[in-house]
């Protein structure tokens, strides 16, 4: 893809100039990567290496069993499934409900078009603290605290998805109006236009929203903190936090668990990054 080059050198320069950008990038990435490197190194250390004084960087005898131990001592498998389940359900929920309202705010010509969009933006600016307590009480009255409902149902109503609605709507606005108009002239209903024209064209943005939302839900902490009580239901974020709170900090296992917690995300990003950079570009955010 052709990209506008940044204003630092780069490109096919000659000789030393070629290495300078690499140097910068490598140096900075070392800084960024160091903590993660340590996370990985610690995850294979044994007790002795962990508490060695002076501290050792590399384990003398790597202990890969730590990763196995994690499955035994923390309900890692269960929590992974819980986290995955909640994240996927939220993605499905938002991907069903958000494009609908985004479409209503972009290509349906009706009175509420801009009002609704203003409401969407409004939800972005509202601090969650304002609604946190009454929402908690509502769920309490419905007797659903301790279940996954408070974490999943709102997604199906696009509650808290203002940012994604925004992205979708901006994207839809960049689609050629003529396409939609000619379909209308041909007598297509809004639903048909939505399903058969809009959706296929929106694959990139849908992918972007899906990925971003999955990432956000995967790491969510406050939601599970408030609504999940039974350890069996915990997500990874909450589970690791709860585990850390007990007296014995098994750093090596905690790091191993963290590594496994983060790995799927890294893989997801590596394969999807082109996709969602494209997606963000296409929304023409600058508009």
């Amino acid at each position: 893809m052709s990209s506008a080059t940044g204003s630092f050198g780069g490109g096919a320069g000659k000789g030393i100039r070629r290495f300078v950008p690499h140097l910068f990038l490598a140096a900075f990435s070392a800084v960024f990567v160091m903590p993660i490197l340590w996370l990985l190194l610690t995850s294979i250390k044994s007790d002795k290496d962990l508490y060695a004084n002076p501290p050792v960087l590399f384990p003398k005898q790597p202990r890969w069993e730590n990763y196995v131990d994690v499955f035994r001592e923390i309900n890692f498998l269960g929590m992974t499934w819980n986290t995955f389940f909640i994240s996927i359900m939220c993605v499905i929920g938002v991907l069903i409900s958000a494009p609908l309202v985004a479409y209503a705010c972009s290509h349906i010509d009706w009175k509420g078009k801009n009002i609704i969009f203003a409401l969407v933006i409004g939800t972005l600016l509202l601090p969650y603290q304002v609604t946190m307590i009454p929402t908690y009480i509502i769920w309490g009255k419905l007797g659903m605290i301790g279940s996954y409902m408070p974490l999943i149902l709102p997604a199906f109503l696009s509650a808290g998805a203002g940012y994604y609605i925004f992205l979708l709507r901006q994207f839809f606005m960049t689609l050629p109006v003529s396409l939609i108009h000619s379909a209308k002239i041909d007598g297509a209903s809004e639903l048909r236009i939505y399903l058969q024209i809009l959706m296929p064209l929106s694959k990139p943005i849908i992918a972007t929203v899906g990925v971003l939302l999955f990432l956000a839900t995967w790491s969510d902490f406050l939601g599970p903190l408030l609504y999940l009580n039974n350890e069996k239901d915990y997500t990874l974020s909450l589970g690791l936090y709860a585990f850390m709170q007990t007296h014995y900090i098994m750093w090596e296992k905690l790091m191993a668990a963290s590594a496994m917690f983060t790995l799927p995300i890294i893989v997801l990003f590596f394969f999807a990054q082109k996709q969602f950079i494209e997606g963000i570009k296409l929304t023409g955010i600058k508009g």
Partner: protein, 299 residues
């Protein structure tokens, strides 16, 4: 036109239901709670403006505002700058960019709990990465997590480390700046720095505005990292969640504590509304000022 209205409503219906149930009603309810004395057991009793009086008089509230402002004023620009600089670097035509991009992005998606744990070590005063490195330079590093002066800078470091998300958005917008603008500048003899300030920055200024506002809003509501850090640097049954000399008592943390530890929901609701007010005012002011420095594309 009536049919269009119906369709519009239909398409918006999931959102509208959610909006009424999870935004509108809770807003109303929390406003009412803010005028009552309410813990989850007893039914609320009206106390008028008492809660608001408490918000403006309570020392802990002012301390939490000061702490929060600290983060807002320092962490926001630092995260933006780091994100922008990284995006610049990653925009260069260098091989292996996708690997670099992943490397810089990963820290921002490491879940908060893992980040907090890792940084607890990195910032360990005795054997942590940073102080050991400083030691080689002959500098005695501070007690990052126990010294009240250094706890917030520790959080800022963590925030800068996680600037990958911001970086990606800047990267996308950088790639959207038309080459022609740069080319004509080069013809005019503009150097790298000049190009950056005269072309790049103005072109992406809408994104900067957007990120600035989102960043401010995020830091006004700063919770998870501070919450974890405060509970980790304590032993035993300490439930103040405030950190050394209350240096980690942020507004959102105090609000959570009032609501879910001390069960003073009236106080917490009043705090939430004050936060809303402050956030709205600041956002509005920034929007107003944006006329002067934001240029929209297509000019």
């Amino acid at each position: 036109m009536k049919r269009a209205t119906l369709t519009g409503l239909l398409f918006s219906s999931p959102f509208l239901i959610g909006f009424i149930a999870f935004t509108l009603y809770p807003i109303g309810a929390s406003l009412v709670y803010s005028f009552t004395d309410f813990n989850m057991f007893k039914s609320p009793s009206w106390v008028g403006l008492d809660n608001y009086r408490w918000v403006f008089q309570e020392k802990d509230v002012w301390k939490s505002i000061a702490n929060t402002l600290y983060m807002v004023l320092f962490a926001t620009p630092i995260s933006l700058i780091v994100g922008l600089l990284l995006a610049q670097m990653l925009n260069m035509k260098v091989r292996g960019q996708s690997i670099y991009r992943t490397l810089y992005y990963i820290p921002s998606i490491v879940p908060a709990i893992a980040t907090s744990l890792v940084w607890m070590w990195v910032l360990n005063p005795k054997s942590g990465l940073i102080n050991t490195a400083l030691g080689y330079l002959g500098i005695r590093g501070p007690n990052w997590l126990l010294d009240p002066v250094w706890t917030k800078p520790s959080l800022i470091l963590m925030g800068a480390w996680g600037a990958g998300g911001i970086m990606i958005i800047f990267l996308a917008s950088l790639q959207d700046v038309p080459r022609s603008l740069y080319e004509s500048a080069e013809i005019d003899g503009a150097g790298k720095v000049r190009k950056f300030f005269s072309i790049t920055l103005p072109s992406i200024s809408p994104i900067i505005l957007f990120q600035l506002i989102m960043g401010l809003i995020t830091y006004f509501q700063y919770f998870a990292q501070a919450f974890m850090l405060a509970s980790m640097t304590n032993s035993g049954a300490n439930q103040t969640m405030a950190g050394p000399e209350k240096s980690l008592l942020f507004y959102a943390v105090l609000l959570y504590r009032e609501a879910f530890v001390d069960f003073r929901m009236g106080h917490a609701s009043a705090m939430a509304w004050v936060l809303f007010l402050i956030t709205s005012i600041v956002t509005y002011l920034i929007f107003r000022s944006s006329n002067r420095w934001v240029t929209y594309g297509g000019d």
